[in-house]
């Protein structure tokens, strides 16, 4: 039943929603504005909002000092690579958990999730040493492996929930129709799960793109993605706010644009199965 909401109540709700929205958006806006200020204006007290001398100098300096496109490319390779490998591992795993569960399936799922509760720094030293011995430090391949493993529980969980929504009878029908396991997954399950797989993919690209702990600790120069690019402008002296902001804006712009265009898919994916 629809509840009647008075106009005043509605106006109040709208105002609250906009305020919260503005608060969430403010840091991004502030970073964006600061990136067009001079270093002096960036730390001015009281702060200036729009009335400053807009300059693109920071962007030029940042690009001169460090090669944005190399970092950008590393970010793309690492986030897309780890997501694709993760999907390749997670699809069969989620299939078996959703359609041929054993009595331990729930426990395995919980165990996988529990690895996400461990603070990453707890395993930094062993992983660092393993990476050093295997010569994986500062390589794209090494980062792809570590990010795949880190995001795998989320990928499996998301796909598991999507697959659970697909009626088992349809897969049984395919089996009766003479489909092998491979055809069943390829022609029936995957096409039906496309929306779910797409949103899993988008979310994981975003998570991998923004991942900073491992990318900062396991890279130096060659394989450093955009997170390292930002970090290189945060000096302890804190004198380069404008350049830091320019670097941040450049780093988050691609993923923000991608998120903007795929937001419908993302929201659908994240709330999929919530109402049933």
């Amino acid at each position: 039943m629809a509840r009647a909401i008075s106009t005043r109540r509605m106006a109040l709700n709208t105002a609250i929603a906009w305020t919260i929205g503005a608060m969430i958006f403010f840091p991004i806006l502030w970073t964006f504005l600061t990136s067009f200020k001079t270093e002096a204006q960036a730390i001015a007290d009281p702060p200036v909002f729009f009335l400053f001398d807009w300059t693109t100098e920071n962007y030029t300096t940042v690009q001169e000092r460090s090669n944005y496109f190399r970092h950008f490319w590393n970010s793309v390779v690492i986030s897309v690579g780890s997501t694709l490998i993760g999907l390749a591992i997670a699809i069969p795993a989620a299939w078996s958990m959703a359609f041929v569960p054993s009595k331990h399936t729930k426990n395995i799922l919980m165990w996988m999730l529990s690895t996400k509760m461990l603070p990453p720094v707890g395993v930094l030293v062993p992983i660092y040493l393993i990476f050093r011995d295997l010569k994986l430090l500062d390589t794209q391949f090494g980062l792809i492996i570590v990010l795949t493993l880190i995001n795998l529980p989320i990928i499996v969980w998301m796909l598991y929930t999507y697959f659970k929504e697909i009626p088992g009878e349809i897969l049984e029908a395919a089996r009766m129709d003479g489909a092998t396991l491979r055809s069943e997954v390829l022609y029936i399950l995957l096409p039906m799960a496309v929306p779910g797989i797409a949103s899993t993919m988008l979310l994981n690209i975003i998570l991998a793109w923004n991942e900073a702990f491992w990318t900062l600790n396991l890279t130096a120069a060659k394989a450093a993605p955009l997170t390292a690019f930002i970090a290189s402008y945060s000096s302890p002296e804190g004198l380069f706010y404008a350049k830091l902001s320019a670097a941040s804006t450049m780093a988050i712009a691609p993923i923000l644009i991608m998120g903007w265009f795929s937001q419908k898919q993302l929201v659908r994916g994240l709330t999929f199965g919530a109402v049933k």
Partner: protein
């Protein structure tokens, strides 16, 4: 060919015995209906034949070949599911083509079979639609079409009509019966609706708690139910079952008489009672009569336009030759 034989087939889910050791012979070309209340194991039995469930013990033979460990895809059977189980991302044409595509049939043969199935099932105009754009009855026909084109050894139907409304159900029932007459392929059909079982089957298998209670033609089951369960389950409205004096007088623990084998009269008869609820169907009227000194009402069939009212006095006379007698264990007495 589609001869299916079950030898001592058993199925357990954990500690629960769903199918007790069971033997059954399904002849080639026969229309066999598994019927029973929900939870009796009829769907499980069908899924065992399909290969969608593994048997715990026993052997399933299809055309004399042991198929017990054979995966469903290789058994040469086709199944129609209760939920239709169409592939929602494919057009009707592609749905019907799917089993042939899996079998690697050439395109021309695929199209020939699709066209002929579509023509037979009135689907020609819908071939390019998605399942989501079809009505329930059309979806069910697509599911049947998908089964036909495989030219299977046998068709398995798992309550295919229970998602359809009553009018459509009667129509589809006829279509499936006609299909069977035309194709002469073995059909195994699961339902909880005894009317479907009676109208469609060559042979009915009545199941309860994973045990076969009786196997026989619809009329065999109607005329000579082997026990009280079958007596009560087959026939609509249900057979009247009585214990006590009337049964004892006929040397039985329980006696049964069908509503259509009782004559009602306003003036004279063996039993006296008063009319309770009456159901007017037009062609028939069913009176629920409260006999003097009995708790349960007796159901009687009378002509369509008999007018008796609630509370009227009525006399009933059972046809003695049609009385069924059962012993204390509920088994039929000869």
């Amino acid at each position: 060919m589609g001869r299916i034989t079950l030898h001592g087939v058993t199925k357990n889910f954990g500690d629960t015995e769903v199918i007790r050791p069971l033997d059954l012979e399904i002849e080639d070309g026969e229309f066999v209906v598994f019927v029973g209340p929900s939870g009796c194991g009829k769907s499980t039995l069908l899924r065992l034949i399909a290969g969608l469930e593994d048997v715990t013990a026993g052997r399933i033979e299809i055309d004399g070949v042991d198929a017990t460990g054979v995966p469903p895809a290789k058994r040469g059977l086709a199944m129609v599911f209760q939920s239709y189980a169409l592939y929602p991302h494919m057009s009707v044409r592609k749905n019907i083509a799917f089993p042939m595509r899996m079998a690697g049939l050439d395109k021309a043969e695929q199209n020939r079979r699709i066209e002929s199935a579509a023509a037979a099932l009135n689907l020609t105009d819908y071939l390019d639609r998605r399942p989501g754009q079809l009505s329930g009855g059309q979806r069910q026909r697509v599911a049947i079409g998908r089964a036909i084109v495989r030219e299977p050894a046998a068709f398995l139907f798992d309550e295919p009509l229970s998602n359809l409304d009553a009018a459509l159900r009667v129509g589809m029932r006829m279509e499936i019966s006609e299909l069977h007459t035309r194709l002469k392929t073995t059909m195994v059909y699961v339902t909880h609706d005894q009317v479907e079982a009676m109208t469609m089957a060559d042979k009915i298998v009545v199941l309860q708690h994973g045990v076969i209670e009786q196997v026989g033609s619809p009329l065999d089951l109607y005329r000579e139910p082997r026990n009280l369960f079958v007596a009560g389950f087959i026939g609509s409205p249900k057979m009247n079952l009585m214990t006590g004096e009337e049964a004892e007088r006929r040397q039985a623990a329980t006696m049964g008489i069908r509503p259509e084998h009782i004559t009602a009269s306003p003036t004279e008869g063996l039993w006296q009672g008063t009319v309770g609820v009456s159901e007017h169907l037009g062609s028939d009227t069913f009176f629920h009569v409260h006999l003097d000194g009995r708790a349960d009402p007796v159901t009687v069939r009378a002509g369509g336009e008999v007018s008796l009212h609630h509370g009227d006095m009525i006399y009933l006379t059972p046809d003695e030759s049609r009385i069924h007698r059962f012993d204390a264990q509920g088994m039929r007495l000869a």
